[in-house]
């Protein structure tokens, strides 16, 4: 990413975090999604859930104040907010499969126009790293994805159809990239918001599949 064009990693996360509503239970994946918890969303109370059974964790612990037996899903030493609870792993995924997670935010390699996404296995790789992604993807009430708009060699990550093994199909409702905010509609990616310094044509050229834009933008 160059100059002031587009959103930073934190801004990509901020844009997603501003969708969180008061009282939501939210699960943040490792990497950029973690940054959602830094966003100031006013007085809205969010309960952060972590796959390892921590319900209601808070910011990363200050240096020297870490509890080495308290981590989030990314292995960071976090703190607990008042009202937090800890459950075991099967109960934690009961929270997920039982439909209690209002939104999960994850990174991905690819997202398709139909809301499929891929984030556990690279092309030609034997095995992969699934973690809790498939459970969250299949069962959270909303799946939000944050990813760089193109790969390091410039290929689109927003694609007509995923050519990497998918994590789940038809589940993604919102995609935040360094170029803007998008909704997979089945027929394309609908541009909801353009990041500063970007033009619709630049975004279209960097997007696989169809990019649709509200009339008022044209």
């Amino acid at each position: 990413m160059s100059g002031t064009k587009g959103w930073t990693r934190q801004q990509m996360a901020d844009r997603v975090a501003r969708e969180f509503q008061d009282g939501w239970i939210v699960n943040l994946g490792v990497g950029i999604p973690t940054l959602c918890s830094n966003t100031d969303i006013g007085g809205r109370a969010i309960t952060y859930h972590s796959e390892n059974g921590v319900i209601g964790y808070g910011p990363v612990a200050a240096p020297g104040e870490e509890d080495l037996n308290l981590v989030n899903a990314g292995g960071q030493n976090v703190t607990l907010r008042p009202g937090a609870a800890v459950v075991h792993h099967a109960d934690s995924f009961g929270v997920i499969r039982g439909g209690r997670i209002d939104a999960t935010v994850m990174g991905a390699y690819q997202v398709s126009m139909t809301g499929d996404f891929a984030n556990w296995k690279l092309k030609g790789q034997k095995g992969g790293g699934i973690g809790g992604a498939m459970d969250l993807a299949a069962c959270a009430r909303r799946v939000f994805i944050i990813l760089e708009h193109v790969t390091r060699d410039g290929s689109p990550r927003l694609v007509e159809k995923c050519d990497l093994p998918v994590t789940a199909r038809g589940v993604v409702t919102l995609v935040s990239t360094n170029y803007g905010l998008f909704a997979p509609t089945g027929e394309g990616f609908h541009l909801l918001e353009l990041a500063p310094g970007m033009t619709v044509e630049e975004v279209r050229a960097a997007t696989g599949g169809v990019l649709t834009v509200a009339d008022w933008r044209l």
Binding site: V30, S50, E51, L70, V87, R97, A138, T167
Partner: protein
Amino acid sequence: MQRGEAMAQASKLRESFRDAVADIPDGSRIGFGGFAMPGVPFNLIMALKEQGAKRLTLVANTTGSSQQPRMPDIGMLVENGQVAKVICAFTAPTRPTETLPFTPFYESGEVDAELVPQGTLAERLRAAGAGILAFYTPTAVGTELAEGRETRVIGGREYLLEYALPLDYAFVRARRADAAGNLRFHRSQRNFNPVMATAARCTIAEIEEPVVEAGAIDPDDVHLSGIYVHRMVAVPPAPEGIWPAKRRERRR
């Protein structure tokens, strides 16, 4: 308390980790609690490495970590030639730029792996401990993990059939125990530990605090009933015993 009862309870405590794992035979299926640093039975892993049982099937969330300092993980048992197969939610790290010590053994075909979504893994263990032979879950439907496997549409949604995963042994780590084997975990140390224990025929626990007499933990405060815990070893202070270490910050 009657004398016989007290003796029976005392018999769960073992002198050493070596003692606690001495009779584990080749070909056993062993589950390990732990998620990231908390709750990993570091000392039991090292004892099993020394004990040397072979052709093992190991069940854990991950095969190890790429983080430094490297703590005892089941990847060390793989490196030691003791492992035929692992069943876990990661055979590769979350970040594609990193590598797990386990990965080359898997890629060369030396060790087999069954990759299972984390929630499915936890539930397969829970089911094994709860007498449920199989269940349907929406997780992994439509992915390559579901290819060629039995699914069923219930109420208009497709679910994948998964089977219970019983264990021969479980290795767990807890903060506190009483002589009856009742366990309490601290914070996210709990993670997979209770479901590993309930899935296993024999659970071996490493305990961080000195084991207290039966009844010293209020029954309402027990996280895992002692009926599931068969052997216990107190973790000695470092460096003899292995304790969680502060991880070094990863370079971006």
